[in-house]
Symmetry: C2
């Protein structure tokens, strides 16, 4: 008998009918002999409705009270799903994050999970119950409700799977797997049967909306087999996310990710002295803002330009913070732009192949697309370009790297 | 410096604007030097929205999961009000029932408060914060969320006032006090300056929607001065609910209460033997249904008719349960009617005055209103009549007992 953690996102539980469909799917999995723990998100639209309420009070609403507010979204879903399971004759019990002691740090709105007490869930599973847990939320050591940030329900699911040593963590979503890129942008995009944790990490971190990045980190760290599959279709094995192995298809590039949620900040004309980078970044990280790409150019006059990207929601306050310290660090100018996107090629095959970056820049150059920032890692090349070129760039790269074709060597 | 518990119902926090008004009122109370603990209900309409969701899954939704669902309503409000207070520069912190350890029994959907741990609230008050607590909800010894039943936020407020030994518990509502009867039924209805706990208990238990009955019980038991006042007007002292004292106006009748939420059940032709009443009532109370009026008539043939009233929501299952035991107890028939109302005269003055019941029956008889059941207590006379006569009966009684006039002897 396998223990499987299911996770259903907002779209999959967006209406009463869909919640009943999820219940029916869980009942079938139970009949097939599996023990099930289910993690659910807020019904689609609910989190935005709650955020709108908060913004009615304070356009910068954040912190402790926002978490108290937002966590109600998942709480509604767990109750309804548990009711639907009970109604279908399947014993079930719902729990908030606090009730199953998903202990997090106190970084409200983006808390991190520290520990999970599985004893209560074990008791319910032993008693033959389905355990329904609210995703996205936890509780800090003071008993305050915390949330993990958007998409945090995936993290909850993987963390529960790790704590319970589950056999698989299945992420049910509105797509039937991980694609070479967003099919809404490139119609020829192809579903991947398998992808490595590393690739998936890069894809997720770069804005592929399928999985939340921390969930993939967790899954990799605790070796939780992770599967993405559709909550709307019975068929389809989805995409399995695992460690790289010999039998895997050896694609040069697995996919093209992009991210429209970033904004660019530039601090220009800074004296190139030790400690300047620290001062600039700490001004932003003190606000609990995560910095993504960082690029620094040293000019001829010992002055440097420092450019980085942050989430668009954090743009205004970051700009303010940088302007506040501009004088102190002797910067000439602080500027920024929210109308940019990041596009990235991702693939473990890059490790053994040279020339991919130059081919990428060539393809973009031919289309007349100017590159603003470049950043590379072992299995990824990212560029920041003007937002208006996003679709053009992704389609041109998908074609040039022939991602619509199954990789060579695969049966 | 006084410690005041404020309680705002669903209408008073029904929109963002109204929540901001409540915040402004609390800020003024703080500026006047009071320490404030606020209890809030769900935004108006929210509880019904949640119940509709539950009914989409199961038309008989009840129990543990319904409480998980419904408790989100108040949780939304506490977060928004705490945000509004913080935005207005007033330090505040929100708590769910579980977070301030409002310990209840495990009777889901109608739990009773057993104990409250005031240490957390004390710490916040000492630190100069307004404490915002979700009404209507608690937590049982297993950590499951419970709710106190509709109107339970009043009970939460009074229980907190008792636990904190507050100087006054102020119930802000959409009316400016307690009236001699519902002004929507009798336009001449008059606001009472004071009313005794006993009278208020009878008024509340009989369906006057101003206060929830358990809150008045609690207030009486722990001697918490309770004041009902309007959340929409700055003026008006509202109605103070206290113990009877010498200086109080001595009205014969304080008010006329009525209740449209009851249904009548009759078990006819039961052999009049010891234990029959117990069997009948336990069949219903085993369902956790509360029985209100009970009347028994013994006929000439040693057969008895047993009639009682329950909440309309409990009518069908009660009828079923009675039919199931009808054979066992030898009853001739089980019947019932949901189209009835209870109308009651309430007043401590009854203690020292005879003839009020006969005057009441005379007034109703003159209007051609048939009385189905009668029940009396020391300070109340209740009758059950056909629903269609409700307004006629209340107006006729209000006129006959001259409730629109200030009681004699008052300045």
């Amino acid at each position: 008998m396998a223990l499987i953690v299911h996770k259903y996102g907002g779209t999959s539980v967006g209406t009463i009918d869909r919640i009943q469909n999820v219940a029916a799917r869980i009942v079938r999995a139970r009949e097939a002999g599996d023990d099930i723990v289910v993690v659910v998100s807020a019904m689609s639209g609910e989190t935005n409705r709650l955020i709108d309420l908060a913004h009615g009070i304070d356009s910068r609403a954040a912190g402790r009270e926002l978490d108290v507010l937002l966590s109600t979204g998942e709480q509604v879903t767990i109750a309804l799903l548990a009711m639907a399971l009970e109604k279908a004759g399947c014993p079930a019990r719902s729990y908030t994050g606090a009730q199953v002691h998903i202990l997090t740090d106190s970084a409200h709105n983006k808390a991190r999970i520290r520990d999970i007490d599985d004893s209560r869930m074990r008791r319910d599973l032993d008693a033959g119950r389905v355990v329904v847990v609210a995703g996205f939320q936890g509780v800090d050591e003071h008993g305050s409700i915390t949330t993990l940030g958007r998409g945090g329900s995936d993290t909850t699911a993987v963390a529960l799977a790790a704590a319970l040593k589950a056999d698989e963590c299945q992420i049910y979503t509105d797509v039937d797997g991980v694609y070479t890129t967003d099919p809404r942008v490139v119609s020829k995009a192809r579903r991947l049967d398998r992808i490595t944790f590393e690739e998936m990490l890069e894809m997720a971190s770069l804005g592929s909306k399928v999985l939340q990045i921390r969930s993939v980190e967790f899954a990799g760290k605790y070796n939780v087999p992770l599967r993405v599959l559709s909550s709307f279709e019975e068929s389809g094995p989805g995409t399995l996310i695992t460690f790289e192995d010999e039998t895997m298809e050896q694609a040069l590039i697995s996919g093209i990710a992009f991210n429209r949620d970033e904004a660019q900040l530039t601090v220009s004309g800074v004296p190139d002295q030790p400690g300047v980078a620290y001062k600039i970044l700490s001004a932003v990280s003190d606000l609990n803002v995560e910095v993504d790409m960082i690029v620094q150019n040293v000019g001829a006059d010992d002055m440097t330009d420092f450019t980085f990207t942050v989430h668009r929601n954090d743009y205004e306050k970051s700009l303010e913070a940088l302007r506040a310290i501009a004088g102190e660090i002797g910067a000439r100018e602080v500027s920024g732009d929210t109308r940019i996107v990041k596009v990235s090629l991702v693939g473990v095959g890059m490790r053994s192949h040279a020339g991919i970056a130059s081919k990428m820049f060539e393809v973009l150059g031919k289309e007349g697309i100017n590159i603003r920032m470049i950043s590379t890692s072992e299995i990824k090349i990212s560029v920041v370009i003007d937002e208006k070129y996003l679709e053009l760039a992704v389609r041109a790269l998908h074609d040039a790297f022939e991602l619509e074709k199954e990789p060579a060597g695969k049966e």
